[in-house]
Amino acid sequence: MSAILIIEQILNGLQFGVMLFLMAAGLTLIFGVMGLINLAHGSFYMVGAFAAAAVAGVTGSFLLALIAALIVAALAGAMVEMVVIRRLYASDHLDQVLATFALILIFSEGTRWIFGSFPLYLNTPATLSGPVTLPGGIQYPLYRLALIAVGLAVWGGLWWLIERTRIGIQIRAGENDREMIAALGIDISRLYTLIFALGAALAGLAGALVGTIQSVQVGMGEPVLILAFVCIVIGGIGSIKGAFIGAILVGLTSTLGGIFLPELFKVFTDPATAQAAGASLASMSIYILMSLVLIWRPTGLFGARA
């Protein structure tokens, strides 16, 4: 296995991780601030992708498609928060699980109702398609490089928002004590709607960006949702930094595991068995990673609370 291949795989893992981070960031914010396990977060991912595909289909503009994804997902998030979630803050967390489960059903089947059962078309813009040659002769798709850049930019922006702005301080204070922050004069419900919309918008953006190189179809959000949960749990719930590290770890593990585990197994057994066994273990690798992290640190890498 050549160095070039290994570097390329690391880039792939990084890119995958960075996209997971977009999902994980919203999830960890919403969970950290509102204590809400939002199963419907994957739906915003899907909504973003469909909105982008629809707009790209009509206008042909990728940029407009991305903007549409952000706006539509944010609106969907704000609406969900105001119509459903808001009524459930006072009740048991488990009720929120049931409610967001119901939302998945509604969003998925609703989207299918509107757009039909067939996958939609959403393609990379011409300016970003095709490979570029990196130093060292590595050929790498330009679009994926762009994704890495977008992910890092979002991370930076979120970090700034959370750590450096007053809204960020208020959000973190809300994580500590919701009632108290309201009693100090801060409109907590507006803040929540905002966070929810922000999280949804990030998920929608991820959906549009990733949908461009994957398939835009109903149910596309659930597998990513599970992975995003894995990321935030590894990183420690509520921590943006944790979500980022967790996402990168998951991205690298799943990408590199799928490649190197079968190779590793070939040392011990015949290629066919090694392929299948290695592939099985690779599917499990991120879950094994997560269990190991949690057994070692029961509140994740950067988490303080359960």
Binding site: N12, P141, I213, S215, T255, L256, P271, A279
Partner: protein, 356 residues
């Protein structure tokens, strides 16, 4: 009055296949003008346990004579053995797991589509014809994926440049594509149905790797092609059906389907259509209540197939010609065009293991 129970996937991510099969089936019934066939349609949600439950309902409560509709092999394995053992006829519109073609074959089970391996075998044969001698192979890590590679390699005579089993449901193939790039292969064979195939093709096209790809039709059905777009152009795939197979039945089918549903039919639709026509042809000669006569009538396969000639082998699976198609653009629509015959009058590899 004949009762047909159709269990198929109508909701969730895999719904497009079930809907196509159902629409094809219903179109044929409508065109036959018969009003004595009642079809009960249920959604299995692509969950085996729901499928079993629905099959119990069809058999115990609705007392159907014939069942059909299942898309996925794992659901078929859950439903079919039980159903046929209770005396119901099962006509498969799609799933063709090897067990049901080999040791698990049954006199009441007819597959009108293909045995799962068929299209892969044809791909292997086509690879030989094209002169590929070093294929990179890719399939999901589940039984149908293992069967796919086995099927491909059954007839393919060249070398293996690498074999990868990917995660079921995987959507990012950057890592695999990097390996393909580094492998020195002269062709890439892949079996990635549904969203997996869309993702793979788009990412493959964007990667700059230009090794030709080949695969079974499952990854290039009418719905998928529209979602992949330009990235699929020129890709070769193998199918027992294509919209340009030249016979009057097929031409009429394609036209009426498009007229009725406003979209081009897929191979699943053609399979549904053929299944219904097989059923109707058998009903002309016998009633399901007379099981032996009805079975013989089915076996005779005396109907006009969209595929042209159609006949069953000893294990009630099709013996058929499989074509190689290329993805082309006709106006705004991406579709397939036949470019050759991959394999002629092909029966499946398991017929010997069937004791019928």
């Amino acid at each position: 009055e004949i009762k047909v129970g159709m269990i198929t996937t109508l909701s969730g991510g895999g719904a497009s296949l079930g809907i196509d099969a159902r629409d094809g089936f219903m179109l044929a019934l409508e065109q036959s003008g018969r009003d004595d066939i009642e079809v009960i349609i249920e959604d299995d949600q692509q969950k085996p346990d729901i499928a079993v439950q629905l099959s119990d309902k069809m058999i115990q409560s609705e007392r159907v004579d014939v069942m059909t509709g299942i898309i996925w092999s794992n659901l078929a394995m859950a439903v079919v053995p039980g159903a046929v053992n209770q005396g119901v006829f099962y006509l498969s519109v799609n799933a063709g797991p090897s067990q049901l073609a080999g040791p698990g074959c049954h006199e009441n089970y007819f597959n009108v589509a293909w045995q799962n391996d068929n299209l892969h075998e044809a791909a292997g044969a086509w690879a030989n014809q094209t002169g590929y001698s070093n294929s990179f192979m890719l399939a999901p890590n589940y039984p149908a994926g293992h069967d796919a590679l086995t099927g491909y390699k059954r007839l393919y005579e060249g070398e293996s440049a690498g074999e990868i089993f990917t995660e079921l449901g995987q959507t990012d193939y950057a890592a695999e594509i990097a390996q393909i790039r580094a492998s020195g292969a002269d062709s890439v064979y892949f079996f990635l149905p549904g969203g997996m195939g869309i993702s793979f093709l788009k990412q493959y096209a964007d990667s700059g790797v230009d090794i030709p790809v080949i695969g079974p039709a499952f990854s290039f059905d009418q719905a998928i092609l529209q979602a992949v777009g330009d990235a699929a152009l020129g890709v070769v795939n193998t199918s027992q059906w294509s919209k340009d197979i030249d016979n009057p039945t097929n031409a009429a089918f394609v036209e009426s389907f498009e007229e009725k549903y406003g979209r081009l039919p897929s191979l699943y639709a053609s399979q549904g259509f053929d299944t219904a026509n097989l059923l109707i042809s058998a009903l002309e000669t016998a009633e399901p209540s007379d099981a032996d006569a009805f079975r013989a009538a089915l076996k005779a396969a005396d109907f006009d197939s969209t595929r042209g000639e159609f006949s069953f082998g000893a294990n009630h699976h099709p013996v058929q010609t499989i074509y190689a198609r290329e993805v082309v653009k006709e106006g705004d629509i991406y579709t397939n065009k036949i470019i050759g015959t991959a394999i002629e009058n092909h029966a499946d590899a398991y017929v010997g293991e069937c004791s019928m």
